[in-house]
């Protein structure tokens, strides 16, 4: 345990520790300061920070571009929601079923792709194909109400019930904050461990990694299953926070794209990039839509155009993402990755 702790915080400079502590403290007290609307925005930010970190395990650490991560969140959401609505199983117990289901799905996709040498763009297209397959499949699946959608009984906001995830936005906020911090710690532990170094070796040069004796197939499988399992929690959270699930929405490719924008804008392969990216992107998008509403304009695609332009600008101008650039400015250093 102390070894893990040392690995977690050992090589952080005092300056980095102060920044981290200040950030966590600010996030913990945020709901007391900001209004209900901003708490909802913060939940969305943390949700994207969380899923971005999960995706980052695959693309950022291991170099496997997945564009179908919505499938893992969607499976998690549906497994927990079906267990809850049909059998009254609490979401935290449902999570114990959702995680293995998503991990198994990741393992199937990974096995098929890595065993048969499907890499690069082909791998990305395979992940899209599976997500689309799931979207159309769930649209015709009776047990989840098909395209008509699955609804959870809407909660009374009178008292919070964290065990059954029924309650006020503030409760959901703290749940997501804890999950985001846990994911951050998990990523840091992974990337500073043997498995993380193997992932980085695979990302940098798979041939060389194999030549050095790394079982690349096995470590890529670890990456996809861990990433899928971590993502599935986001799905469970989504189901209980929004209370409705439509295959057309949860498995939509735009959901997968939304998940990857944070880490790309923040910095692929960095620990803090996905979190920073989620803040920057969602913050800007919310300000934009607020500004548009204030001007009396109702443009349904404007927010998406904005996402597209952001992605375009970052890919062209800051291919590394914002965080590596900002970290140099702040004099902050995270684990080498």
């Amino acid at each position: 345990m102390s070894a893990a702790l040392a690995r977690l915080a050992g090589d952080l400079s005092p300056r980095t520790r102060i920044w981290l502590a200040a950030l966590v403290a600010a996030l913990v007290i945020a709901p007391w300061i900001v209004g209900d609307y901003l708490v909802t925005v913060l939940i969305l930010i943390l949700y994207l920070a969380y899923t971005g970190q999960a995706w980052n395990i695959m693309m950022g650490f291991t170099g496997q571009l997945s564009l179908g991560h919505a499938i893992y969140a969607g499976l998690g959401a549906y497994v927990a929601a079906v267990l809850f609505t049909r059998y009254g199983v609490a979401p935290w117990v449902g999570l114990l079923a959702a995680m293995p289901v998503a991990a198994a799905c990741g393992a199937i996709i990974g096995f098929l792709a890595f065993r048969f040498g499907v890499t690069g763009v082909y791998f990305a297209i395979l992940t899209i194909a599976f997500a689309e397959f799931a979207r159309i499949g769930f649209d015709h699946l009776g047990i989840v109400n098909a395209a008509a959608g699955l609804f959870l009984p809407v909660a009374q906001y009178a008292h919070n019930d964290p065990w059954r995830l029924r309650g006020s936005p503030t409760m959901f906020y703290y749940v997501m904050l804890a999950a985001t911090l846990a994911a951050f710690i998990l990523c840091r532990l992974l990337i500073t461990s043997r498995i993380g170094y193997f992932w980085l070796a695979i990302r940098e040069d798979e041939e060389a990694a194999r030549a050095a004796g790394i079982d690349t197939f096995r470590y890529k499988m670890y990456a996809v299953t861990i990433s899928a399992a971590v993502t599935s929690f986001a799905g469970v959270f989504y189901a209980f926070f929004y209370n409705n699930l439509f295959p057309e929405q949860v498995f939509n490719i735009s959901r997968s794209i939304q998940m990857i924008l944070g880490p790309i804008i923040g910095g692929v392969g960095t620990l803090f990039g996905p979190i920073l990216g989620a803040f920057v992107l969602t913050g800007l998008a919310e300000s934009l839509s607020t500004a548009l509403t204030a001007m009396g304009l109702d443009l349904p695609g404007a927010e998406q155009v904005f996402y597209g332009v952001c992605l375009l600008v970052v890919v062209v101008a800051l291919p590394e993402g914002i965080w590596p650039w900002l970290a140099r400015r702040l004099g902050v250093k995270e684990a080498e990755s």
Partner: protein, 290 residues
Amino acid sequence: MPFDVYLNVAIGGVLTGLVYGLMALGLSVIFGVVRVVNFAHGEMMSIAMFLAVVLFSAFHLDPLIMMVPIAAVLFVFGYALQSGLINPFIARPEHSQFLLLVALGIIIVNVLLIIFGPDARTVQTAYAFDSFQLGPLLVDATKVYAGAAAIVFAALLFAFFRFTLIGTAIRACADNYTGALVVGLNVNRLYALTFGIGAACVGAAGTMMTLIVDVTPMIGPTYTLLAFVIVITGGLGSMPGALLGGILIGLTEALAGLLFTPSAKSMFAFGILVLVLLFRPQGILGKRPA
């Protein structure tokens, strides 16, 4: 169900598949030469479709006549895109190129959404409900025209690459990048030309698709995925493969729509994609990378 129902549906599927094939041909040409995967392909097609719809509803210009002008517009768009935005990305990692085009696709879809709104639009030509009778078979006239136009366009493209000097030069770039530079070809310009040609294919295909299907802004990503399924099935970079893949997917979708439910038809296309990726990743007519 009587046998000629199946045959009717199958012929309709093959004719639609030819248009799919032309669309996928554009993607295949771009990848084969420029080595960039155009993730905004279907979105480019939806630009062409909206052009066709607007020209028809405003001036009653028949899509069959507007095919060439719209293809020309898309050619210019593709040429400008490649020389302005994509050329600097040629040496960047794959995922970087890919994200550039994903970004472009998102922008196209939503700009179309802002301009035209989410409603479906159609082109109602005078011959929209005509059909040709061949013995027991009834074939929609629109599909026959669209399929025939796709064949003509594809044949011209094959001839261009086979017999013209520029076509030969483009093939040289595809075969050996360094070699093409050594013999003094302006590779950047040829890449831009190629991207333009690929965009023209999708422009022509999109114009003809308006005869067969309704148009919405959200249709773009669907066609991007479909184009991928087709070229990967046929063999990425193989021109006959793209046409063959188009026919195969068109046929599969039509029969799946008849035998199961139309809304589940693309599941079968994705099923074929998964099988091909697993057992013949280079595609039916593709060559294994050396």
